[in-house]
């Protein structure tokens, strides 16, 4: 059976079988998940379709969120970029707009794919959609590379956590950004080792990020942090593709992230009692207070 417990075993499988990281994860799913290859690809294609639609909708027709804290940000970013006023460059401008758009869709009870969670759902599709548009990749290729992102997320779920209530925002946005970075590296022709290095870099750069949703709602600062997650993913992928290795491998970085998360006080783990949620302006504007 094709399976792996950590990034080291995953990398060994890629090297032994001369496979991409996404191919190993896809085979693992088919062999262990009681699902045919066609069913798996169908489900992944559906996820990709939902991701695309959830990124497009708030740019076409923006609206206020359920909690009233966000709405219309993605449209502003796209208009700014289309006017030629953007300072981030094409990929990042689009990537952050799509990520923020998906959080708008989510906060207005639209359909999204948790990746790995609802509050961090914008990052993987945001970065991948921006790369697809810039390089004109076929959908089939994007659907395959989602398995790469899934591999990194699976390792975090298995060996650490992806719950903000357990490990803070670094476990949600941090892991989502690590997933996006790893997938971006494979998409742009990097090696499995480079993918895992990029994921490790992200966890390092987002280490300690707290989960402090204003009013306890998945809106603010979650939406801003999804944009930050795209940027962090892009930076880490660029470093890996340039051939910069990382001193700390992904397995160790997952352990570090988990240990830091467990040491966070409860006020900073999705309880809305600390961090941004406790700032005076946030308290005033909170719904339900």
């Amino acid at each position: 059976m094709m399976d792996f417990k950590n990034a080291r075993e995953l990398l060994a499988l890629c090297q032994e079988r001369k496979m991409l990281l996404s191919e190993v994860m896809r085979l693992r799913e088919i062999e262990n998940g009681e699902i045919t290859d066609r069913e798996a690809d169908c489900r992944m294609a559906k996820a990709w379709k939902i991701m695309k639609e959830s990124a497009a909708m708030p740019i076409e027709s923006p609206g206020k969120s359920m909690g009233g804290l966000i709405g219309g940000e993605a449209r502003k970013l796209i208009e700014h970029a289309r006017a030629g006023k953007g300072i981030c460059g094409d990929i990042l401008e689009k990537g952050i707009a799509y990520a923020m758009a998906i959080l708008e869709t989510n906060a207005s009870m639209g359909l999204i794919v948790a990746a790995p969670t609802a509050g961090s759902a914008g990052i993987v599709p945001g970065l991948l959609l921006a790369l697809q548009e810039a390089y004109q990749f076929e959908d089939e290729r994007m659907i395959r590379v989602l398995y790469n992102a899934g591999a990194v997320g699976y390792l975090a779920m298995r060996n650490a956590t992806v719950a903000g209530a357990v490990g803070g925002c670094q476990a949600e946005v941090g892991v989502a950004s690590a997933m996006a970075a790893s997938a971006a590296v494979e998409l742009m022709g990097g090696t499995p080792k480079q993918s895992l290095d990029a994921a490790s870099t992200v966890l390092m750069n987002m280490l300690g990020l707290v989960c402090d949703p204003v009013g306890g709602l998945v809106e603010y600062p979650c939406q801003n942090r999804n944009a930050a997650g795209v940027a962090n993913g892009l930076i880490a992928a660029e470093m890996a593709l340039a051939g910069i290795p990382q001193l700390i491998p992904l397995d160790e970085m997952m352990g570090v992230m988990y240990a830091v998360g467990k040491r966070m006080p409860v006020e900073l783990r999705e309880t809305a009692l600390g961090g941004c949620a406790a700032a005076p302006s946030a308290c005033q504007g909170c719904p339900g207070r």
Partner: protein, 222 residues
Amino acid sequence: MSFISVFDVLGPNMIGPSSSHTAGAAVIAYLAQKMINGPLRRVDFTLYGSFAKTYRGHGTDRALLGGILGFATDDMRIRESFEIARERGLEFSFTANEKETEVHPNTVDIAMENEAGQKMVVRGESLGGGKVRIVRINQVRVEYTGEYSAVIVIHQDKPGVVAHITKCLSDRNVNIAFMRLFREKKGEIAYSIVESDGSLPEDVAKELRQNENVHDVMVVQV
């Protein structure tokens, strides 16, 4: 450790905004309505903990009602569940209970009444990532996650009932994954929950009811 699928990572496909407060809520209510027979006339939700504090901003109320109407976590009709329930003549209410704190932070009690006048209260907890647990049926503590299809048998706690249940299932070639019996007191009402790896034949309920000590049977297909 149970298998973590790539679709547990890239998923669930869900109506936002929260996997615990929206998707999980819908799943709990979906399972609850499967535990009572026939169309419902009335449903009353009592919300505790974080559910009680933030249910409006998370659409927890719409998701709960959507689950009761049989909608899955990715069904867009969840957004209009209030209107749909009214059209179907289903009465509903929501009560926030912030006094009771000795509960899991995301807990809901769902009190249902069907058109035949039968009543049932189900308590569920939303554990995060869309995962849930049913922890109480009426007054009896139970444990059911909804990950497997299950037969729930309400019966008198008397000898021979469990043998009857397993015989009915083995006659139909059902492979039992887990089986547990929950009861409040010896000899009184008991709930046997039998979880199966595959799907369950619907007619098994009819045969299970043949035993005089069996009061009711529900088949929950997932």
